[in-house]
Subunit: 551 residues, 2 copies
Amino acid sequence: MSDLFAKHADRLEAALEACRVRGAWTPFVESPSRRLHPEGAHEAGRAAFEARLGRSFDLDLPGSRGRLGHEISPWTAAPLGIDYPAVDPDALLGAMQAALPAWADTSPRERVGVCLEILDRLAGQVFENAYATMHTAGQGFMMAFAGSGANSLDRGLEGIAYAWRALSDVPEGAVFERSFGKGPVRLEKRYRAVPRGIAAVVTCASYPAWNALPALFANLATGNPVVVKPHPTCILPMAMVVATAREVLVEAGHPADLVTLAADTVEAPVTQALLDHPAIAIVDFTGSQAFGAWIELHCRHKRVYTETSGCNAVVLESVDALEPVLDAIATSFCLFSAQMCTSAQNVFVPPRVRTAHGPVDREDVSAALAARIDALTDDPAHAAALCATVQSPRTVEQVHALALGVDVVRAPVPYSAPGFPHARTLTPLLARAKGTDTVYRREHFGPVGFAIEALDAGRALARACEDAREHGSIASYVYSTDPAFRARAEQAFWRAGASVGFNLVRQSPINFTAAYSDFHVTGLNPAGNACLTDLAFVADRFRIVQSKTEV
Amino acid sequence: MSDLFAKHADRLEAALEACRVRGAWTPFVESPSRRLHPEGAHEAGRAAFEARLGRSFDLDLPGSRGRLGHEISPWTAAPLGIDYPAVDPDALLGAMQAALPAWADTSPRERVGVCLEILDRLAGQVFENAYATMHTAGQGFMMAFAGSGANSLDRGLEGIAYAWRALSDVPEGAVFERSFGKGPVRLEKRYRAVPRGIAAVVTCASYPAWNALPALFANLATGNPVVVKPHPTCILPMAMVVATAREVLVEAGHPADLVTLAADTVEAPVTQALLDHPAIAIVDFTGSQAFGAWIELHCRHKRVYTETSGCNAVVLESVDALEPVLDAIATSFCLFSAQMCTSAQNVFVPPRVRTAHGPVDREDVSAALAARIDALTDDPAHAAALCATVQSPRTVEQVHALALGVDVVRAPVPYSAPGFPHARTLTPLLARAKGTDTVYRREHFGPVGFAIEALDAGRALARACEDAREHGSIASYVYSTDPAFRARAEQAFWRAGASVGFNLVRQSPINFTAAYSDFHVTGLNPAGNACLTDLAFVADRFRIVQSKTEV
C-alpha cells in the first residue's frame, strides 16, 4: 500500500495553514474553463454522467434487497432512470460494525491519508459531478461545477484538516516518572483516539456535497464508518461519492463497507428508522428546522450535528449608491432560486434609505428591487444561469400559495430556460410586509423575498436580530456607510448568536461562504448546532482511551 | 488593572507543554511539609478554617433570601455551624445574565489571566482548604491537602490550558482577497468566540475540587459565568472557591456575579430546578449515574458534561510476587474508604493465579487479600491516615445492608480514629461472588470489594470489559506478567471504551490519576460523557460568530 498521507501531505499542510490564517485559498479549480482542465475532461465527464442514465448504479452493498430510485431532473422533467440498492438497515449496519474495529485500530495518519486520496479522486470527477448535481439538485452548470465541486471539496478538505488537528492533539504515548510513597515510578502510557461508532450523514436535496463532504471526512478520519442517507430526490451525487470512497478504501486495503449508502424513496422514507438504530452513534444532518429539531429531541444519546435554516435578514441603513446594493440583494433572491441556506429573505427598509445622492423613499426602494429582479430574469439565458431550477415541485406550490396571502410587489413567474423546455423554473416573489407581521419570521424555502417596513434602521436591526435568535439565521446582511451603526449591528447580531456581512456588493454572490475563512452556522440560534468548521465539529467525534503500564 | 495573563504566562506555557508531552509535572506543592511552605502557613490555614466555624459565610449574592447550611464533620460528628446565603434562582441568574455580555466581550487573554490569578490565589489557601475538605468531605488531612489541593489545582490549570488552546485556535480576524465575477474583492473578517451562557457546576460530596476546578475554569475562560451548586453536605470548600473567584474578579474590574454559589439542603434540594432553568446553558455534573442519566435526559437542550461512576475491575492473571499486588488492591479498597471514582471494586480471580513462586489458589488469594486489609487497618493511626472517614451515614448503612446479603470474606467494621472518637469510619467489606452473580455489576459506593470467581483469566477479562461497557468504568486494573495477555487486555478494554492500568504497584495508590498525563473518563461507557481533559471538554463551551466587511 502506498503512503497516501505522504502523497498528499503538502496539500494537508497548506489546508492547515489556510485554516489558521483564514484567508482565500483553494487547491481546486473553480472554473470549468477548458484551458484549466485536461483536454476532453468536460466531454468525458458529461459522457460518464450520461452513461449512468437508465441503468443500475453499480454499488455492491451488504443487506441489498431489491432496487429503488425515482430521481427526476428538474431541468428536463425526465426520470434519470437510475436505480440503487435498497438495503436492510440491520444487515448494512452489521457489516459496518464488522468493519469498524480494524478501522479504529488504523492509525490517524493512515485514515487521513485515505480521506485525502478519496478527496483527490473526487476532484477528478468534477465534470461528471456537475452534471449529476444539475440533474438532481437542479443547480445551474456553473454552480454545480464550482459550488458543488471545488467549494465543496474545500469544505471536505477543511474537515479533514480539522480532524487531523484534533487527532494530532493526542500523543501516541508518554513516559510518566515521579516518586510516590514507595519511591520512584516509571509508567509507560499509551493513548488512543477511539471512534464513537457508525455515523449517519443525512444530506439535503439542493446542495448535498457542501455539507456532506466535511461530515463524511470528519467522521471517517476520526475512525467512524459512514452511512450516507441522501435525499430520495438527490441520490446520484452522493452515490458517486460513496462509490469513489469505497473504491479507494479497497485499493488501500480497507473494507469497502466503511462507507455505505442508504437510499430511500419519498414514499417509503428510512431516515427516522435509520437514525433510531442503536448502531448509529453520530448523526450529521442538513435539512429542515423541523426535522433537525426532531433529531435533536429523539437522538439524544447520539452525538448530533445539524445545519438547518434561518430567515436571513438584510438591514438597509445607508449606502453610497443604491443600485449595486439592490443588485446584490436581487441576485441573492434569484441565485439558484434562493434554495441556499445563505440566501437573503427579509429586507428591512426604513422610511428613507440614505444614499450619497440623497434619501430614497421606501416605496422607491421596493420598486427598484422588484425592477432589478425583473432585469436579472428578463433574458432567459441569464435567468437560466442565475436562477437555475426549483428542485422540488412542492417549493413551487408553496411559493404560489404564499403569493395568494401576501401584499405582492413582484409576482413569482416562471422563465423559459433555453434548451430545457420542461425545466421547473420560478423567478422570485417579492412581497411587502409590515414589521409587525409574522409571515416573514420563518424560512420560506425557495425564491421568496420580503420588503419589510421598518420604523427606522435601529428597529430594523432589533427585529432582524430577534428573528435570528428565535427563528434562526445562517447569514445576515447589513448595508451601512456609518461605522458606528456597523459596530452596533455587529454587536447586536453577535449577541443574537448570528454572523453578519457588511456592505457586500462586489463579493458576488453575497451568499458565498468560503471554506478556511468563513465559519458557517454558529450553533447559537435555531439554524443548527454545528459549525463548518471549528474544533468542536471534530473534537467530540472520537474519545480517548489510554493504558498505563508500570515498568 | 495589572496584566494578569503576563503575570502567569510562564505557568500557562509550562502547562500547555505538559498537556502536550503528558509526563509528570506540577507547579504546586503536594506535600504539607513545613520546609516547603512559608513559616506558619499550616497554622494560619487551620486558624482560618476554625475562624469560619459557627459563623455566617461572607458571600454577598444577588437574590439572597435567608440562610442555610447543615454541614456536619465526618471526623467530629459536630455541625460546622456555618450558614450560607439561600438564593432565589431567578434573581441570581438574572444578575449573572446581566454580567454576561461584558465578560463575553472581554478578550480571551484577559479572561484566562483572571482564571490564572484565581487559581494562584486558591493555591495560597491549600491549608485552609485541606481542613475545610477534611471536615466536609471527610478526607484525611494528607489527601485533603494533596488530592484536593495541588492535584485539583493541577486539573484546574489543565482546564485553563485547554481552554486557551481552543480559544487560540480562533484568530481575531483575517483579510480575504480574491476575485469574483465583478473583479477583486477585499473583505475584512472578524471572529469572536461567544460563550454559550451560564454554566451550572454541580459538585459532589466526597471529592469536589478535583472536578469542580476544571469545569469552573473551562467555563469562565471561555466566557461563561458559573453558578456552583455544591452538595448540601459539602459546601464549604466550594464556597471558599467562589468567594476567592469573586474577589479576584472584582479586583480585576469585572463583576463578582460571574461566579456564584447556589447552596441548598438535603431536605430542600434545588439542583433539578436550577438545571431546568432556561438561563442555564451548560451543565457540569459530578455524582451518581442515576442523576447523571436524569440530567442527560432532561437537559437535552443544554450542553451537558458528566462524570459519574463505574464498577471498576481488577483482573488478576499472573504476577511476579502476589503480596505487593494484594497490598495495592487492599490499599485501593481502604483509601478514603473507597469513595473515589477510581477505587477498585471487582477483583476477578481465576482458580489459580500464577506467580514466580508457583500458582496460588483462588481461596488463598481471597484470604490473603482480606488479611492484607486487616493489616492495613489494624493500627488505628494507620487506618485513620488511609481510610479516613465515610462521608455519608447512608453509605455506612448501605455497606452493612449489602453485607447481610453476600458471602462475606471480611466483614466491614469501624476503626477508632485517634483523636476523633466520633468519626464515622468503616473498614472494607470483602465479599465473595460467583461470576454469574449480578450484585457486583454496579457501583457500590464506599468500602466494598468483591473477590469474583472467574473460570479463567480470559473469561475474567471478558466479564470485566462487558461490565465496563454496560455499567461503566472509570479505572480498570490488570495484573499480568504475560505481554500477550496485556496486549489482549488493552485491546479488550479499549473496545469496551475503558482505560486500563497494568501492574500498578509502586504507583501508590493505584487510584492516582495525574493531570496533564491521564485522560480521566472516556465518555464511551456509562461512567460519564466528559473527559478531564481533552479538546472536546472545552471546544464546544463557546461558539464562533463572525463579521465580514467589504472594503
